[in-house]
Subunit: 250 residues, 2 copies
């Protein structure tokens, strides 16, 4: 973040979530980013405190709001133009593809660069990332049957789908890359644990009524289990690759 | 099959499919099996002709019927007791979990051994089988939205779910094993081709109306593409592991 805000930049940090939730989303004002990261092992509130106590602390404004509502609440005339909006691993938290598209549309009128990082749905670390890929697909399939989702995977989107939405929103791809996270990035394990925990199967029973749809989600659950077993257990599951891309308004 | 029928055994071969379809299902009578195999590159009719021309030919009776209906059509008194019923890679062709369970229930009263072989939803060949696993999950998810499915993956079931159904049907597991198919078993490639072909995306548009469910299936499609690319293309995709198990009535 220090690089983004430079010597004089200011950050508008926006997140709709409560302070005890493990995610934060940041929009910076004069040198400027929209950042979302999975917050565990810290909560959103702890992340705020940590950043506010840093040397950049007095240049961050924390705002609890939905990004689109916040951006639209600023009057056209006074609305600041952001240098950069950063969406880091937050796309999947949006509650529908429509809201992602709407957010990108508003951002395309308000930021000069939009940087997105998201899980790629692919793994280059032999089969060790497969369980993570399967787990998020299982979660997304279950979550799509709930009226309201509070999972980490509410609307799963591949890089190809995000790029299609970004283009629809009037933005153009400048560069992109895929990289494999280092050991110690536990997101793969967390998602596998979420799918293999007792709550997942209970929720499948509660929310998925059609027997064939249920069979498909249970098969995903079992494929996650098999993939984790194949690599030596949940602790050996590697996080899948990350996709990063930079876009600019057309 | 020669081993199963021995010197004097007879085979009742049952399949509901038309003769130009690439699948066959066999029930043997006195030494006896219920066999389903993916028929490509041969059709069901060609497979019949090939087997009928073999030295076992005069000991096979071909019956075009649904297995449960055929078994129930024989009167209780005259109904033969089969030595073995073999279901080889045919479980996923059944149109719902209920029909699988019903078939297993009827078989539990009519066969002394039930042998099942099915794809395991796991792959021990590093990441080369992942695309096959992901492809059948994508197909199953799409198919579950169609009123009638004619795909190779109508009701996907893991070994764990099949075992649970088999137990419910009054059968007990005697032995099971998992093995990895040799090179040249093209089922992985075929399913990946089916998902990445133009028809799949068209059918997602036609059959999946909910935007979040659609996003989940499109993500699976894209994960299949990424997994195939990761191993060097569709031709390098390996078939996933096969699960085989023998059951006997309680």
């Amino acid at each position: 973040m220090a690089e983004l805000v430079g010597e004089t930049g200011h950050v508008d940090a926006i997140d709709p979530g409560p302070l005890d939730y493990g995610i934060f989303l940041v929009v910076s004002l004069t040198s400027r980013s929209l950042i979302g990261t999975p917050g565990s092992p810290f909560t959103l509130g702890q992340a705020h405190d940590h950043l506010s106590a840093s040397r950049l602390g007095d240049r961050i404004t924390w705002i609890q709001a939905k990004p689109v509502e916040f951006l639209q609440s600023q009057s056209e005339k006074n609305a600041p133009k952001y240098d950069v909006a950063v969406l880091a691993h937050c796309i999947w938290y949006f509650s529908s593809p429509e809201i992602i598209l709407e957010t990108l549309r508003v951002l395309s009128t308000r930021a000069r660069h939009i940087c997105i990082a998201e899980w790629s749905l692919s793994s280059s670390v032999a089969s060790r990332g497969s369980a993570h890929v399967l787990a998020v697909l299982a979660e997304a399939s279950l979550e799509s049957h709930k009226p309201d989702s509070e999972s980490n995977v509410r609307t799963v989107s591949s890089p190809a789908r995000i790029k299609a939405m970004v283009e629809k929103a009037g933005l153009s791809l400048q560069s992109e890359s895929i990289w494999s996270p280092k050991e110690g990035m536990f997101d793969g394990r967390w998602e596998v644990e979420a799918v293999l925990g007792p709550r997942f199967l209970m929720e499948v029973e509660n929310f998925v009524k059609n027997e064939r749809e249920k069979a498909a989600i249970l098969a995903m659950h079992d494929a996650v289990k098999a993939a984790a077993t194949e690599v030596g257990g949940i602790k050996a599951v590697h996080a899948m690759d990350v996709w990063c891309a930079v876009f600019t308004p057309l």
